[in-house]
Amino acid sequence: MIAKTTKIGGVDNLLSKRPALPAPIPDYVYIAVENGRCGKADIFVKEGDHVNLCQVIGVRHGPFFDQPIHSTVSGTMVKIEKHYHRCGKLVNFMKIDNDRLDTLDPSVKERTPEEVAALTKDEMIKIIENCACVGLGGSGFPTHVKLQTKEKINYILINGIECEPYLDTDQRFMLDKTKEIFGGTKLLMQMFGCKDARICVKETHPEIIAHLNEMIDKYYPGEGIVVSPMKNFYPQGWEVAMVKTALGIKMAPGKIPPAYGIMNVNVTTAASIYDAIWYNKPVIERYMSVNGDGINAPSNFIVRVGTPVINLIHLAGGYKGEEKKVLIFGGPMMGTALPNEDCIATKTVTSLIVMNESTKPEAPCIRCGSCVLSCPQGLQPVLIMEAVKSANRERIKMLSPLNCMECGLCTYSCTSGIRVTDFVRRAKLLAKL
């Protein structure tokens, strides 16, 4: 079929219509020592030490930032074990025996409205850094680095779009945690002295738009926060597409939103900024969708960070069918497949998708051009693939594969079922050489 893909079809997603279920806090939680962005870390606690909830138990060293590690339960540090992290690698995890008391660390204390109003931008960024706020939409990029921009910010965009199929966490989160989201938005507006904030919600969720509008009318009238309905296509949640729909600004490839006076954060990140600044509290639990065609009872869960994935699979009724399964952290278009169940839900894991293995066979490319029609960046994946196959670096560079953001639409729309995105990833490596 020679056709442009805009919607990922065949998925009825109704998880956000039902309340999110609190997942039981496990007996042992696992806190990642390293992660995809930080390869080195120092640990401040020994085996047998007692730790409090939200206590800083270590620090990760990234390429240009340090990130404190917080405990998400109170209890006893047991040992360090290897498990799979959401980046797909086997990394060290601290195993903490949960004493089920949730003894709060003294560092967690509420600030008064006067204190918050008096905070400067730099002070806020320092608090956010100490609470290890990162992009909770899945990127894991440290929020304090993002907020340190020197550009003049005119618009705050709060991203609640979640355009990937099977994902429905942010939709439910917006219904449940409205106060935190608006609070975080207000703090961002205070930080940048900006008067225009937009909460971006897909137009296919009128109930969320109505709920948010009601809350704005009730608590935040005339403060410059509006709900901006977004179109229903993939990848609407990509920042370039979101900025275009919300503000009509067309971003050039390779530019970031602050260059256009825009600061965009995920709804979950906005809520974590609220928790950090008002309560000095890091992220200890998050909303997670457990969904896919390979699971019996899909649902949204409120998950304590550090819960093993196997617990969530049992909670969602176990695997459906006998086919081979693909376990995905993140959405089915851009998420990482994990080699087995021995993995841990960290705070950047938005969802666990269990898919049955795709049965679409791989056939020769017939240059139908569906990938070219579908690419949101206007690249030509089929030509990139041909250039990679012939290992022609000059040709690869001419096709500018570095503009690719790996949305996966080329593989998705391929008539012949070829993993075109893999070739584009290789082209990106070759073009950088």
């Binding site: 399964k325 693909v326 089915p332 080699p339 679409k360 240059r367 051009g369 030509q380 030509l383 729309s413």
Partner: protein, 348 residues
């Protein structure tokens, strides 16, 4: 439970190559049915031979190159069947079967078409030329003389066009228009009954098996250029230009080539601008050959356009969005095309 470690994305669109190829066969079905009903004797001689030759060549190629029978998949069978069907439908109804050479001509054309047009480049998905068009051209060039139509005089070249409008003929019999549309003329097996081709075209467009941009730009260019030529001829005292254009469209294999051959994605470029330029170029070559050489130009124009497709795919030039140079090229092509059509006719 077993787990699969794979790279993102983890879901794929529901369509697949097998269905796309099956859709082409379904799209060809109306024309095939017409051919079998109208010319049962010719169809009985041509179809089995051409299809068997194509499938056998593909099978031997897989056996020799891939060294495994398992590599001979359903896609290979379907694509070689499509080649065989299109090739059969392009052949004239009478190929000298009485003397026995006709059988040889059918097999030789099919074999040369699929081997030189497709298999030498690496088989399905790698070919530069449309194998069916190449096979048809080979038959016309090598055996054009021996393969007469029912009257026994006209060669293959004439049999597709002499019955309709010869390009430079200035006065045309009006009553023939309906005969052309309904295929009540001698000609190629599948090219004459245009109703069937239009049904197939609608099916292929609805199922998105062919890209409408190539089809529209090919037919559009063809129509505009023949309209201009018709106007020039009318000014010089010829027939009504509208009737002339209709004759040009309905005679020969223009519609058949536009629907089933030029739209073959493998032998065309990718990206919207390249596809439009590709179709326009093929349309221009068709008209130029018809007007300047005076023979049917569809097959040649498809092969010529196939040749420029790799150039349109050249990374530095190709683009999925319309750029300035696309318009400049399109404008230059239009200028050259109009000059090439008007000048010889005006000076004649």
């Amino acid at each position: 439970m077993q787990f699969v470690k794979e790279t993102a994305p983890h879901i794929k669109r529901k369509d697949n190559l097998m269905w796309m190829l099956l859709n082409v066969i379904i799209g060809l079905a109306p024309v095939c049915i017409w051919a079998w009903v109208a010319y049962p004797l010719s169809a009985l001689r041509i179809f089995p031979l051409a299809l068997a030759t194509c499938v056998l060549c593909e099978f031997l190629f897989i056996l020799i190159v891939k060294k495994s029978v398992k590599e001979f998949k359903i896609e290979n069978i379907l694509s070689s069947i499509i080649t065989g069907m299109i090739y059969s439908l392009c052949l004239p109804t009478e190929l000298g079967f009485a003397s026995g050479t006709g059988y040889f001509v059918v097999v030789a054309g099919a074999a040369i078409g699929i081997i030189l047009g497709k298999l030498v480049f690496g088989g399905l998905g790698n070919n530069i030329f449309n194998p069916a068009a190449l096979g048809m051209i080979v038959v016309r060039l090598f055996w054009g003389g021996i393969s007469g139509n029912a009257a026994g005089t006209a060669g293959v070249i004439d049999s597709t066009i002499s019955s309709g409008a010869t390009a430079l003929q200035t006065t045309l019999p009006v009553s023939n228009l309906l005969d052309l549309l309904l295929g009540r003329i001698p000609g190629a097996l599948g090219e004459t009954f245009h109703i069937a081709i239009i049904i197939g075209m609608i099916y292929l467009l609805v199922t998105k098996t062919i890209d409408w941009k190539v089809l529209v730009s090919y037919l559009g260019t063809f129509l505009v250029l023949t309209l201009v030529a018709g106007l020039v001829l009318q000014i010089k005292g010829g027939d009504n230009f509208a009737i002339y254009t209709a004759y040009q469209l309905l005679s020969g294999g223009v519609l058949f080539g536009a629907v089933y051959m030029i739209t073959d994605p493998v032998t065309g470029p990718v990206g919207d601008p390249a596809r439009v330029l590709f179709g326009a170029f093929a349309g221009f070559v068709t008209v130029a050959i018809r007007l300047l050489v005076g023979t049917e130009g569809v097959g040649f124009s498809i092969l010529f356009a196939n040749m420029i497709a790799p150039a349109l795919n050249y990374p530095q030039w190709s683009s999925s969005k319309w750029k300035k140079w696309h318009f400049i090229t399109a404008g230059a092509l239009a200028g050259v095309a109009l000059l090439a059509v008007i000048l010889p006719l005006a000076l004649k």
